[in-house]
């Protein structure tokens, strides 16, 4: 345990610690670190993914056909963890597509396709010359708008790390670069030491650490001397040379090596007063603040035995890998493998149109001889080499076992979350088990399972709430029915003659209805002539017709081609009101009789009938509305009749209601209701059919009738359920 005070003193004393495990793979860095950094030629097409960092992508602010200049933002960052991306060069936005992403899965991501115009004109730089006097908030907003992300690997937005909420004692600049083959940071330090220190000064101003330590592995003597040369008069910046070992460049590993402190499980270095930045990020910060340039290019190592001119290049973000490989002279061998990143933590490139993104530090084309592909996976022999080599003291063989069994609880118990995916265990395993692949897969699965669990819990909650609500409604309905039944019973007891009265009223109502049928038919003949031609001209009408047609197709299917539905269909097709009235009623009644025993099927048919009725009401409404100019004329002819009709409709509705009531009563007294209840649906339906092409007032009534029909259908259903 180290007290807070002694941390800096200890650092100044230069003491180093060691991490458990680790390996010493062949470095092969000399391939690419001897030449200065060249500039990659302009590619004709750039593919700029809008998400190149951890967090949310921004909102696109350009569209296809726009002309953009180099450094112009393409997206607007959202609130929270989000960064913009910028146009790498000037040109035309040709397309915005889903393009293969710089990820092992190659999962397509939204990508802006930029056709370079070859001019490479940049927008005006926006430097902050007096950054020493600016408040943190302004610099942080600037870093965000310049799109600065960690260039070391994960691509974490820098503005978050540069704005620690806690007091920071130590700022570590990570220049370890421990993976074989990669030399991007090495050459950057050799040739841009001065700029890097300027970037560190900006960071010093922002995070205000007591001490800055630049950690470099001892296999980069040129870089060390270059940096040491420029920090002679910086009292608070020190270089610390760490012994070469993989993976000492991991964030938590490097902190352990430099300070002896372990970052606790599930916390970040800032919690123990430490912030770490990659050396390449420091350079990007200098560019953003002092030169005012957005992050649109980075150093990429293009190396491997199959590359004839291995070197480091300034590559504009979004450049397809194929162009870089051509530029550096790829001489592919048979089954040439291409790797993005280093040999330990990188991944196979599945498409050479994959773009370079903010976190791409290396493109590797190794020879099969020096970097053989993995052999066939053998069974674990429990040699425990993996456990000895793991830098975070995990038990890889156990994790492998649980990963294969998809035992997520056990995986978490064995701290899979702490695995840094360094690949050391895979490297040492004599059985050639790709251990780290299992862990990566499992990590995603655990994440997915957690999301699914949250979703299914929510679904369960909603399902239960709904069940409760339905039950409550049902109870309320039952209660109401009971009450009204009781009331009626009392009334009946009071007046025995009431029954007779009802019977008489019903008889009268029926007689009236018959009368009504005769008159409506006449009226309809008149009005329909006026309406139908207009109907056909309207657009909405067509759509409604289409909807009805679809409904019909469905209904037909539902009715299993039973004979009764056929006349139904013809009825809706031709709109002759007289026919409708006659046939419609007959058909429905007939249907009711024939399908009585099959109540499930019947319920469905009833529903369909109700739906058609509703569709008709809608059609009618739409047909009448466009014909406003004709309404007056029409009303004149139909006025005397319609007044009468209104009355008749009212009567019809009343009958319907009466019937419903009667039905209710009978239902309550005798449980076998199929017969009566299905009959009850007939009057409203047929009534409604006869009202085709009527005046607006009537439509309202139609709707009422339809509503009654619906209510009845529902009631029937409920009763069916009850039984």
């Amino acid at each position: 345990m180290h007290s807070e005070l002694s941390l800096i003193e200890q650092m100044r004393s230069g003491k180093l610690w060691d991490i458990p495990g680790g390996i010493h793979p062949p470095e092969r860095k000399s391939l690419s670190n001897t030449s200065p950094i060249d500039i990659a030629p302009l590619s004709p097409i750039y593919y700029v993914p809008i998400k190149q960092h951890i967090g949310n992508e921004g909102d696109l602010i350009v569209s296809v056909g726009d002309r953009v200049l180099a450094g112009q933002p393409l997206t607007n960052p959202k609130e929270g963890l989000s960064l913009p991306v910028h146009a790498p060069t000037s040109g035309l936005i040709k397309d915005i597509i889903l393009h293969v992403s710089a990820h092992p899965s190659g999962k397509p991501e939204t990508t802006v396709v930029l056709e370079s115009d070859g001019e490479n004109i940049a927008i005006a730089n926006q430097p902050i010359p007096d950054w020493q006097n600016k408040p943190n908030s302004e610099l942080i907003a600037h870093l965000k708008s310049m799109g600065i992300a960690g260039l070391g690997g994960a691509g974490f937005p820098t503005y978050i790390k540069a704005n620690p909420t806690k007091n920071v004692e130590l700022l570590i600049i990570n220049a370890v670069e421990c993976e074989p083959y990669i030399t991007a940071d090495d050459v950057l330090m050799r040739h841009y030491a001065q700029e890097i220190i300027q970037g560190i000064e900006v960071l010093q101003h922002m995070v205000k650490p007591e001490l800055v330590v630049i950690a470099i592995e001892d296999n980069k003597p040129e870089a060390i001397s270059a940096i040491e040369k420029v920090i002679v008069d910086h009292k608070h910046i020190e270089v610390r040379v760490v012994p070469t070992k993989y993976p000492s460049g991991g964030e938590k590993q490097l902190i352990q090596i430099l300070t002896g402190l372990e970052v606790p499980n599930q916390s970040i270095p800032a919690d123990i007063g430490i912030v770490m930045q990659n050396i390449g990020t420091c350079f990007a910060i200098k560019k953003a603040v002092i030169d005012g340039e957005a992050l649109i290019e980075r150093v990429v190592t293009i190396t491997g035995e199959s590359i004839s001119r291995p070197q480091n290049l300034w590559v504009k973000l979004g450049a397809p890998i194929s162009d870089l490989l051509t530029h550096c002279g790829l001489v592919p061998e048979q089954d040439q493998r291409l790797i993005m990143g280093g040999p330990m933590m990188g991944f196979n490139i599945m498409d050479i149109m994959m773009p370079v993104v903010k976190s791409t530090n290396c493109i590797l084309a190794p020879s099969e001889y020096l970097l053989p592909s993995r052999g066939v996976e053998q069974a674990c022999i429990r040699c425990s080499l993996c456990a000895d080599a793991c830098p975070v003291n995990l038990l890889p063989q156990q994790l492998l076992w649980f990963s294969k069994a998809k035992d997520h609880d056990k995986l978490e118990e064995y701290n899979l979350a702490d695995c840094i995916e360094c690949g050391v265990c895979s490297y040492v395993c004599p059985s050639q088990i790709p251990l780290v692949q299992y862990y990566r897969t499992s990590k995603v699965e655990i994440k997915q399972a957690k999301e699914d669990k949250i979703k299914s819990d929510k679904a369960k909650e909603r399902f239960e709430a709904r069940q409760e609500r339905l039950e409550r409604d049902k109870q309320a309905r039952l209660q109401r029915h009971k009450e009204s039944a009781e009331k009626r019973k009392k009334a009946l007891e009071k007046d025995n003659s009431a029954k007779d009265k009802i019977a008489a009223a019903l008889a009268r109502a029926k007689a009236k209805k018959n009368e009504l049928a005769g008159t409506t038919a006449e009226v309809e003949n008149k009005t329909s002539e006026a309406n139908i031609p207009e109907v056909k001209t309207t657009d909405t009408q067509d759509r409604v017709a289409a909807a009805i047609a679809r409904a019909k197709a469905k209904k037909q299917q539902a009715a299993l081609n039973s004979d009764e539905t056929k006349p139904d269909k013809t009825r809706t097709d031709d709109t002759k009101p007289k026919d409708i009235k006659a046939k419609g009623t007959e058909v429905v009644e007939e249907k009711v009789q024939t399908t009585e025993p099959v109540s499930a099927e019947q319920a469905k048919k009833d529903k369909v009938a109700a739906a058609i009725a509703r569709a008709k009401a809608k059609k009618l409404k739409e047909a009448v509305e466009p014909a406003v100019s004709n309404v007056e004329e029409k009303e004149q002819t139909s006025d005397p009749v319609s007044a009468e009709q209104v009355k008749k409709d009212k009567v019809a509705a009343a009958i319907a209601r009466a019937k419903a009531k009667k039905l209710k009563e009978t239902n309550e007294t005798e449980p076998k209701t199929d017969n009566t209840s299905s009959e009850s649906i007939v009057p409203p339906v047929s009534e409604q059919m006869s009202t085709d092409s009527k005046t607006p007032e009537q439509i309202k009534k139609d709707k009422v009738a339809a509503a009654i029909a619906r209510a009845k259908a529902k009631k029937q259903k409920d009763q069916g359920e009850q039984k």
């Binding site: 092992p104 020096l370 739906a611 509703r614």
Partner: protein, 183 residues
């Protein structure tokens, strides 16, 4: 004889005392065990699709607790069957294809300009994930939709589609790249 009575009396007294203590403890410190149905229900995917032949996941959970087969839930697939097998202490068996096949995750999507506003889908949705009112356009709340497929059939104008849900998580499926020291 007297000694024997004393011994017996002492034993009886002890029995009564311990019995009382244990009885009290079992009431006072009762551990609320998760009932089996709850545990099973927690493993089911809560899609509420009814493909298992029961009107929702909870009823199926009850049926399993009463001895029904564990391989009737297509949305859960093999993973759920395995978990159920572990819980119930029975052998995992392949999914009963009579109830459907495992499928990618989908959500309902209403082609809104075709919707006639009949509200039938609302009535069918087991988790109230559809918004709308009579005669106006309806829409599906994608985050609440479980992909149960139940709203598709009742729609009179067939304007509901089941569309596959985009995976938000990246999947790793390439092989590792080992560095082998050949020197």
């Amino acid at each position: 004889m007297y000694t024997l009575l004393i011994a017996l009396g002492a034993l009886v007294a002890l029995t009564i005392i311990f019995g009382a203590v244990l009885g009290f403890a079992s009431v006072k410190f009762k551990v609320e065990a998760d009932p089996l149905v709850e545990q099973i229900d927690n493993l089911l995917p809560q899609t509420q699709c009814g493909q298992c032949g029961y009107p929702g996941c909870k009823p199926y959970a009850e049926a399993i607790a009463n001895g029904d087969d564990i391989n009737k839930c297509p949305p859960g697939g093999e993973a759920t069957i395995k978990q159920l097998a572990d819980l119930m202490g029975v052998d995992a068996k392949p999914l009963d294809s009579a109830h459907g096949e495992e499928d990618v995750k989908k959500v309902a999507f209403i082609r809104e300009d075709e919707c006639i506003g009949c509200t039938k889908c609302i009535q069918a949705c087991p988790v109230d994930a559809i918004m709308g009112a009579s005669k106006v356009m309806h829409t599906v709340i994608i985050d609440e939709c479980t992909g149960c497929d139940l709203c598709v059939e009742p729609c009179p104008v067939d304007c509901i589609d089941m569309v596959p849900l985009n995976d938000t998580n990246w999947k790793w499926d390439t092989l590792a790249i080992p560095v082998k020291n050949v020197n």
